[in-house]
């Protein structure tokens, strides 16, 4: 038993932090033009792929590093801390769908390419009405000869614009099924959404008889398996982002003078920041536990992931709101990065269902545990 990070984990995190603090440039997002026109991506994604981050948790048998989810959150946390604009989230999401639902042959062919940074993926889950359970028929798959085609619409797809292939979740006879399509396929049209959180690319995709390859191992538990992992990386982003906005607010409160003293010497400010610090500790603890539980495949892993996501996303929102309040009016301007975090926090609390949805999942688990204990 050891409930703290090892030196290796800390080194991994610190290396990622050092790399990203050098490579991530948010300035283009803080220019007035960024309000009018999407900011073109720089070379960061290429650099990230060269570092092998896409293959961290891909099993060694499929060309990955086969590391644990604890290792993964060390790195994903740092991408959240810096709002690193890249296709990492989408590629991890797509790779998990392939790992969970793909045939052996599909895994052998796709995952090594992802691990080598040669293949970028995205996972299309939400229907245009925002439903993320895959059962509201935004898109449907139909048999076409030996294969399948997909028609309909998916929306709120993260990082589809950079993806070479897209994994699509659709209802197949009442169960979420997973299919993979070429991002450039005939009949597929991608429209970039005017998404508030501009450090992320989010798209709507329409499909018209798009040839699709089925991932045949999908079953009734596939989506929750994938979703738990997405909860984990969103929560890791949120927890580390919350730390960053706290650091920023603390630094500003030490510097900014009002009534002859740094504003950070007033208890009203100190106490708000202390409360954020407390919540951040809880969020980070929840992320690390969920990462361990998912790595070990413990019985409570799903609950742990829902706990991490529900808490971290709400804490991120609280931390970013406090951050802007401490900065005062300057924190409300486009040219400051505070709003980028505020928007990411908002998005992270909605992308995979609301914190309340996750708490409902937790409550159902507790009710079923209670029933079994009785």
């Amino acid at each position: 038993m050891n409930f703290t990070l090892s030196e290796e984990h800390i080194a991994l995190r610190d290396n990622a932090r050092a790399f990203l603090s050098k490579e991530v440039r948010l300035d283009p997002y803080l220019k007035p033009e960024a309000n009018e026109q999407p900011v073109a991506r720089d070379g960061l994604w290429d650099e990230i792929r060269k570092l092998g981050w896409t293959g961290i948790v891909i099993p060694e048998a499929y060309g990955g590093l086969g590391l644990t989810y604890i290792d993964l959150v060390m790195i994903v946390g740092e991408t959240g801390r810096t709002l690193a604009p890249s296709a990492l989230f989408g590629t991890l999401a797509g790779a998990w769908a392939v790992e969970r639902c793909g045939s052996e042959e599909q895994k052998q062919s796709l995952l090594p390419q992802v691990a080598a940074g040669e293949l970028s993926l995205a996972l299309a889950v939400a229907d245009p009405n925002g439903d993320v359970n895959g059962l509201s028929h935004g898109a449907t798959a139909s048999k076409a000869g030996d294969g399948w085609t997909i028609s309909g619409e998916k929306s709120f797809v993260v990082e589809a614009a950079d993806a070479d292939k897209i994994v699509v979740m659709v209802d197949v006879e009442g169960t979420p099924g997973f299919f993979i399509v070429d991002a450039k396929a005939q009949g597929l049209a991608m429209e970039r959404l005017d998404w508030r959180d501009i450090t992320r690319h989010v798209s709507r995709i329409s499909f018209k008889d798009v040839p699709a390859e089925r991932l045949p191992q999908a079953d009734g538990d596939s989506w929750s398996w994938i979703r738990d992992r997405l909860y984990l990386i969103l929560a890791a982003e949120s927890a580390a982002g919350a730390e960053q906005v706290l650091d920023d607010a603390v630094a500003y409160a030490k510097e900014r003078i009002a009534f002859g003293r740094p504003i950070g010497s007033y208890q009203s400010i100190k106490h708000d920041l202390a409360e954020v610090a407390g919540g951040n500790e809880c969020a980070t603890a929840g992320v690390q536990y969920a990462a361990w539980a998912l790595s070990e495949g413990t019985a409570d892993a799903s609950k742990a992931a829902a706990i991490a996501q529900s808490y971290a996303s709400e804490q991120y929102r609280a931390a970013t709101a406090c951050n802007i309040q401490v900065f005062g009016a300057i924190g409300f301007t486009w040219e400051m990065r505070n709003h980028l975090y505020y928007k990411r926090a908002r998005a992270n609390a909605e992308l995979l269902g609301t914190p309340r949805d996750q708490r409902e999942q937790i409550m159902r688990i507790l009710e079923s545990e209670h029933k079994h204990a009785a």
Partner: protein, 398 residues
């Protein structure tokens, strides 16, 4: 990182279990002699056990149905006893520790005063050296267990000519001294008094009962409070003790109150927070395992845990409706287990306001977190640098 607890067949566990089974009527004396009372202390008191072994021993004592010595005598066994290892003389250790660990001598803390709670450093109880004794005068308050204690740990002012935090010294006093008068305080819960006020009139204390040097008192009591707060980083309803959100949810499911959508989400939020508090407590334990001394994380933990506990008993009480106003009756069922002192939602609720006041108010803890962890500027205290005797306030007790 590894959240697995020591297994049920861990050889260290089996050894402890075997010994406890061989001693079905074990006394606290024997438990202390075996080293199980404070296994993390060095010999001859403990086994220099790592925190993992300490946890195992604690779990096995609980499993054997024994009330743990640190529940019976928390100040002697936990908060203050261990200060003697660092600051106490050999003679002092030999005199005070054996009866404390055997729970023959119950200890109490005599820190707060009527005019010095959060600003403890401004305390007015005085200790004057006369020959080989100190003469202590003053009034202490909010002293748990003082009415059943044999030993009191007092902080008093030995030098009023230096700034307030520098002139303080800690003493161990005999609570049976004729100059010690203990009066119980009935608190708002109406339960058997938990607190006392203690009047000290010309209490004579031999110099050999001074803990550490003159002027070291502030540092010693801060360490003791830190240790005490560390024990409160837990998800229970009052100071980390008593029922947790797990039991709350269980009761709400049992009574189907969980089906109210507002109650349901509020309970789920509390459950999430409670589980995260468990993780903070685990992490603090691991920090000890890894050899890091107890630090400021206890302040942060208690800052979160105490209001969390209040919200628990508040939701429990609210779901009871008007019936919740009846004294001592829990309408919401509580799963059967040993909750210690705070063993009903009713008591937790009416005792609840103390949670964010005692052992550091939430405001003081937030200051500590902001100043010591986040590095924000210290609060302005015009009295901090003045010699105590020049602070514009009532003078020392005679």
């Amino acid at each position: 990182m590894d959240f697995n607890l020591p297994a049920d067949d861990d050889p260290r566990r089996l050894e402890v279990r075997k010994w406890l089974e061989a001693h079905p009527n074990v006394t606290y004396e024997e438990l202390a002699q075996k080293g199980y009372t404070v296994p993390h202390w060095p010999a001859p008191w403990g086994l220099s056990a790592d925190p993992e072994t300490q946890l195992i021993i604690e779990q096995e004592i609980k499993r054997a149905g024994i009330t743990h010595p640190h529940t019976l005598n928390p100040i002697g066994v936990n908060q203050c006893g261990q200060s003697l290892l660092v600051y106490g003389t050999e003679e002092m250790q030999q005199k005070f520790l054996p009866p404390a660990l055997a729970c023959r001598d119950i200890w109490c803390m005599l820190f707060s005063e009527p005019s010095s709670g959060s600003d403890l450093g401004g305390l007015r109880t005085s200790a004057r050296l006369e020959g080989d004794h100190y003469i202590i005068n003053g009034q202490k308050i909010w002293n748990s267990n003082a009415h059943i204690s044999q030993v009191g740990v007092v902080i008093a002012r030995t030098d009023p000519t230096v700034p307030k935090h520098r002139g303080l010294t800690v003493f161990l006093i005999d609570m049976k001294d004729p100059g010690v008068e203990v009066r119980p305080i009935l608190d708002m819960s109406g339960h058997a008094p938990e607190f006392n006020e203690v009047f000290l009139t010309d209490v004579r204390v031999p110099v050999s009962n001074r803990l550490g040097e003159e002027g070291q008192g502030w540092r010693i009591v801060l360490e003791q409070l830190q240790t005490e707060r560390m024990g409160m980083v837990k998800p229970g309803a009052v100071w980390g003790f008593g029922p947790t959100a797990r039991e709350l949810v269980s009761g709400l499911i049992e009574t189907r109150k969980i089906n109210d959508p507002l109650v349901r989400d509020e309970a789920a939020k509390l459950y999430v927070e409670g589980e995260l508090l468990r993780l903070l407590a685990d992490r603090n334990l691991s920090n000890r395992i890894n050899g890091n001394p107890p630090g400021l994380e206890a302040n942060l933990g208690k800052m979160i845990a105490s209001p969390h506990g209040q919200r628990l008993s508040d939701l429990a009480k609210r779901t009871e409706g008007i019936a919740g106003m009846l004294r001592d009756e829990d309408e919401l069922p509580l799963p059967k287990q040993d909750y210690g002192l705070f063993n009903s939602w009713d008591y937790c609720y009416w005792f609840g306001p103390a949670g964010t006041i005692g052992i550091g108010t939430t405001e003081i803890l937030k200051n500590t977190v902001a100043e010591r962890i986040l590095g924000l500027p210290r609060d302005i205290d015009p009295s901090a640098k003045l010699p105590f005797s020049e602070i514009g306030r009532p003078q020392l007790a005679a």
